[in-house]
Structure formats: C-alpha cells, structure tokens
Amino acid sequence: MRYAVRYKEAIIEKALVVIALSAIAVLGLIILFVFKEGSPVMARVGVIRFISGTKWAPSRGVFGILPMILGSVWVTLGALAIGVPLGLACAIFLAEMAPARVSSILKPSVELLAGIPSVVYGFIGLVVLVPFIRRWLGGPGFSVLAAAIVLGIMVLPTIISISFDAFKAVPAAYREGMLALGATKWQAIRMVILPAARPGIIAAVILGLGRAIGETMAVIMVAGNSTKIPSSALAPVRTLTSNIALEMGYATGEHREALLATGMVLFVVIALLNVAARLFAGGGRVSR
C-alpha cells in the first residue's frame, strides 16, 4: 500500500515535469518551423537586401520589407506617444490619487478594455476614426495616424496595469515620509514615487511596445496597407504583421517563404524587446 503511494507520487512528479516542459517545447517548435520555412528566401535574397529593400513585389519575386519595418516603427512610436502619457497618467491617478471606491470601479474597467477583441478596435477605427481623419485632416483617412491612435488605445491596459503594479510596489514609507514633510501628493509622486517606480514604468513601456508591434487585425483595418514607405502621418502604411496576415491566405512558394521571413524579422524584434525589458526591469517578472 505505502509502496503504491510512493510509486504514484513519483509518477505524478515525472508527469508534471513533462507537462511543464510543453511551453518550452512549443516555443522550440515555433522557432523551428518559422525559421526553417523562412530562412531559404532570406538566404537567397540576402538578409541585408531583404531588410533594406524598399520594394515589395511578390509577383515579380522582389522582396524588400523596409517599408513594413518603417511602417511598424512609425505606427508603434505613434501608439506609444499616445498610449504612454495617457496610460501613465491613468495609472498614477488609480494608484496614488483616486479614492479607493473610485479606483475599485476604474481598475476593472481598464481590464475590460483589454478584453475587447482587436477586430472590434479595428472596426471602430474603420467606421469612426478613418472618416474623421479623412474629413478633417485630409488624405485617405487610412493612415499611420489612424493606426497609431487605435494601437495607442489598445496598449493602454498593458501600460496601465504594469505601471500600476510598479506604483503599488513603492514602499508606503516613501510617500508617507514625503507627505509628513508637508509635500503635496503631486510633489511626492514627482520626486519620490516616479523615480522609485522607474524600472516598472520602463518595463510597462517596453511591453506596450511589444503589444503594439505584434498587433495585426486592428492595424489592417485602419492603416491602408500600402507597400510604399509612408510620406506623412496621413499616408497609408503597412506593418510587418499586416504584411503577413494580408497575403498569407493566398501566398505560395517563394512568396510564402518571404512572408515567413517577415515573421522571422518580427520574431527577432520581439525577442530583442523582451531582452531589453528584462534588462531594464532588473530581472523582475515582466510577462503579462
């Protein structure tokens, strides 16, 4: 009887180890398949030419993804320009200023915002934002700006909840010390809490960045998806993710490989971002 119990325990432990390794196994499979299928075309075209080529013409076998790289960069930076100040302000209000009852209503609302499907964001952008931009700012409406605004809103929950945690992690003694010295709340926030929470804030920004770069469906619906390098914030743009999603449905052969190579580039960018987040957050938990 007791031996049976011990045997069972050992089997359960082994099983748990095997199951726990499935995440890393999936990660390995993802890398293996995306890189295996994407690298031939990369090798043929040449990494530098693939990344720096300004022309994307799959039907003629011309694969340059610089427009998409720049597109991702512009759209993401724009999203951060909107999402970071707004998100940080919101997190500061929730963590430091709002009465407990107010933040107990606002905090779940922010998390609800994270639950809204990205296609819905894209759709709202399509029917509200794009016509608005076309009417008041000119251009086709489908633009860097439209994508940046939609993404700026979509990264809010990430930025808010991670920086909120960072503010909450600042020891209460810091702010009490400041307040006891006669400082106002804002002085305490500016002089003590913001500096103390800086690693967490940076991690929040980097994760928001990752979320913005990786977002696909919402961007497709509002960005216009032109393969030209955008000339202004009002010009249409195509990001790395949209490039994959738009053409994967019908691509074959070398064209499909080129899309997977686009995925490789995206993967590497995300990996670098994660490394950066880890470095800035000082080894803290950064996944979300």
Binding site: M1, R2, V5, R6
Partner: protein
Amino acid sequence: MEGSPKILARDFRFYYGQHCALKGIDLEIRRNQLLTIMGPSGSGKTTFLRSLNRLNDLIPGTRMEGSLEIDGVDIYSHGVDVAELRRRVGMVFALPVALPMSIFDNVAYGPRKRGILNKQKLQDIVEKALRDAILWDEVKDRLCDHAGRLSGGQQQRLSIARVLAVEPEIILLDEPTSGLDPLSTLKIEDLLWELVRSYTVVLVTHNPLQSARVGGDIAFFLMGELVETGPSSEIFTRPKDKRTEDYVSGKFG
C-alpha cells in the same frame, strides 16, 4: 518496552545553509512523557521539534547531522516513509489555523488522505478526535460550518483534534497558546495532561511560566544547545546550570 526511549537524539545537528541552528543535541524522551522544551526565541527549540517529523525537509537549503531515533529507528535513514512518519508524529502549530473547509472536513482531512472514505467510520473518528480534544460539546451541532468561524482557542483545539484523528503516537505542540487568551490557554494546558495518558507529548514554549504551570519534564534550550533537562520542580528550584537559573528567574529571554 517500558525501558527503551520513544525518541532518542544523539549529537543531532541542524543547519539552515551555513547557519548551525542545533549544535549537537542529546536528548531522550520516554513513552507517555510530557516534555516541555523551553527556551528563548532563536534557541533552536522549534527547529528541533520540526526535525522530529521532518517538516524541516520542506525548507530548501537545510541539512542535518547525527541521529534522531523514534522507537529505535533513525528517522533520517534511507528508506523511511516520511509521510507515514509525519502521520505517527503529529504537529500542532503556533498559530491556530483552520483549513478552509468545514469543521468536520478539517478533522477528517488526515483520515481521508489515508484512504478512509467510509462515512460511518469517518464520523466515528471525527467524534472521537473532537471529544479527546475537548471540543465536541461546543461544535457537535455545527460540524458543517466553515471552521474559520471558530474562535482562536477553538481553532487550536480543532488543530489538536485534526492531529488525533490520524492516530499518532507522538504529539508535538509548537507554542500552541501563543495566539490565545488566558482562558483558552488554560484549556489547552489542561488538555496536555489528558493527551499524555495515550501519547508522548512534546511542548515547545518560550514562556517559563507556562513550563512551570504545565509541569512534567523540562528541557532548556539556549542558542542551539541543550543546557539541561529535569523535572520542572528541579529546573525551577535547583537548576544545575547558571544559564537556566538566569532564564527561569527572568534575567533574559
């Protein structure tokens, strides 16, 4: 079997990483003895207690040396069934904690894990354990209530009942009254003398007054060493060691 000790520690040492918490303990505990391990905090008394049912195994980075025998078997030797050892050596913790379930389920927890699932049998076990812990009359009408609703003193007796339900041979109590009011404390102390009729009981306390009240035998621990042992009457009136005298007279601790 009367002559052989129930528990026998020989040059028992225990380490948390580099820190040596027990520096060679030699101690004999007889069957049906009530032994109070007394000492200030940090003296190693809880560490010793938790070594007796190998609960310290759960803390990473710990190791032991020397030997610790129960019924002549070294409990740290290879092949010992630790779960079965812990079943035989029950433990009541410092803070009264009820598992987040009903009163009945709390007491039935141990027996169920041993494979006793028969309802009638479980009911008998639970009733007997609660009676032995002198809690039955207070809870018999609300066994299905959440155990968290009990008072601190009741929860601590519930902890004792939980231990009794798995039919241990030894009962360890680690400062069982530290979170309780004086009245509940007295109830627990009285209970100890009921328990010692059927079990070997080891109590840990930092409070010399409690050691004196409980009586029985006393082992005085200080900074990881066993300073002296003896009946409480001797420890309190004719301590052999100066340090014991200082402690029981309240000079430190």
